[in-house]
């Protein structure tokens, strides 16, 4: 009886340790809030060029993360890339003429979408489309333009 009790206590400790580690992983190491951010509304935006944007890239508002890119596809009618992003449901006051731009964090960092609020009274809803967009800056294009401007001066 005594040894069976000891074994049960040890197994209980083991399972408890595992659960504590799991909760630690959830709260301390990862951001569980990203789970709740999935419960937002989704808007789409058309870009001429998305550069190296990937699904699950972050969507920011003045640098504050407010959502994530969920899907990237190609629209064969307008010949542009369609980026679908989910924005947290508590950010429900963005004007309809909000502009979406693709930026790079740091010189070689990953690419993300930055939103700049416009001035309209109507706000973005689920399924809205952002018409004002600014494509990603592709380094080769910039270098190409610089080369052209340098050579044309001479």
């Amino acid at each position: 009886m005594g040894s069976s009790r000891k074994i049960e206590i040890l197994v209980g400790t083991f399972v408890l340790l595992g659960l504590i580690a799991f909760v630690l992983m959830a709260l301390n190491i990862s951001n569980l809030t990203s789970l709740s951010s999935d419960k937002g509304y989704s808007v789409t935006a058309h870009f001429d060029n998305i550069g190296g944007l990937r699904p699950r890239a972050k969507v920011t508002l003045s640098g504050v993360k407010v959502g994530r890119v969920t899907k990237i596809s190609y629209d064969k009618e307008s010949f542009r890339a369609v980026v679908t992003m989910t924005i947290d449901s508590n950010i429900n006051y963005l004007p309809e003429d909000t502009q979406a731009s693709i930026y790079t964090s740091g010189l070689l960092g990953e690419q993300y979408i930055s939103l700049e609020p416009g001035a309209e009274d109507a706000v973005l809803k689920d399924g809205s489309n952002l018409s004002l967009t600014q494509s990603a800056v592709v380094l080769e294009e910039v270098i190409g333009k610089l080369m052209v401007s340098f050579t044309s001066k001479n």
Binding site: S4, I7, E8, L10, V11, T13, F14, V15, L17, G18, A21, F22, L24, M25, A26, N28, I29, S30, N31, L32, S34, L35, D38, R54, P55, R56, K65
Partner: protein, 259 residues
């Protein structure tokens, strides 16, 4: 020439029949799950010998793996002035890869081999046959509790491995090497996603736990009832588990993390 062909054919046929026996065996084991869950006393006893006794090696290696990862990561990252990403490096590599894989390998060495040897020896000393004589199904009484205990223990051990490893990495990185504590944790928290990274790591460990214990109990049950057969089964159990874990890890990583 014909002899060589015959060898190849015989090898293929034997491998196939082993695989088939393993699948039937797995099915029989699954059938016993209900009766094991109704009498959890046997399961708790096995959880002790499979899980609790593996804790020491898991804790020990987690601490050292985390410390080494942090130390080497720091040496490399500091050249680029990116040592604030140390937390991301340590946590992502532990959560996605090293945690599940290393715990599965350690688990197969510590618990899987013990399971195989125990069951193989029971077969060699005809304990399984005598149980059948007493109308006790040896698969339900002996194998299923051990199989379930393995499937439950490995994910728990993996989660313990991950969090201890990350904490050990924090101790080396922040306390010893002086990486800023705030950026260590905050960068980790923004880059590690619970739904993507942590959950997929745990799914990996569930798969590994299933495969490793399956191989271990099958090798034991299928062992030749001699001392040589038991020793060969134990070796096979560890070798096959390691190969299966590494190959499965590649496939799972390709499915989960490569978009």
């Amino acid at each position: 020439m014909l002899n060589a062909l015959q060898h190849i054919g015989a090898f293929t046929l034997e491998t196939l029949s082993n695989l088939g026996r393993a699948c039937i065996f797995l099915f029989q084991v699954m059938l016993g799950i209900k009766s094991t869950l109704l009498r959890p006393r046997l399961l708790i006893r096995e959880l002790y010998s499979v899980g609790v006794l593996s804790l020491l090696i898991i804790i020990f290696s987690a601490i050292f793996v985390g410390m080494v990862l942090s130390l080497l990561g720091y040496v490399t990252l500091v050249d680029f002035g990116a040592e604030s990403s140390l937390g991301v490096l340590v946590s992502l590599s532990l959560v996605r890869e090293l945690g599940p894989v290393l715990s599965a390998l350690l688990f197969s060495g510590r618990a899987g081999s013990a399971l195989t040897a125990e069951i193989g020896l029971m077969k060699a000393t005809e304990q399984l046959a005598s149980m059948e004589m007493m109308a006790v199904d040896p698969v339900r009484r002996i194998i299923t509790p051990r199989f379930l205990a393995g499937c439950i223990s490995l994910p728990l051990l993996t989660v313990i491995f991950m969090s201890l490893g990350i904490y050990a990495g924090y101790l080396v990185g922040s306390v010893w090497l002086g990486v800023d504590e705030g950026s260590f944790w905050s960068q980790m928290q923004t880059k590690v996603e619970f739904g993507h990274d942590v959950i997929n790591g745990i799914i990996k460990s569930l798969v590994f736990g299933f495969v490793v214990t399956w191989i271990a109990v099958f090798q034991g049950y299928n062992a030749m009832p001699t001392s040589e057969g038991v020793s060969r089964a134990t070796t096979n159990s560890v070798v096959y588990s390691a190969l299966a874990v590494l190959a499965l890890d590649f496939i799972l990583t390709a499915i989960m993390f490569v978009t």
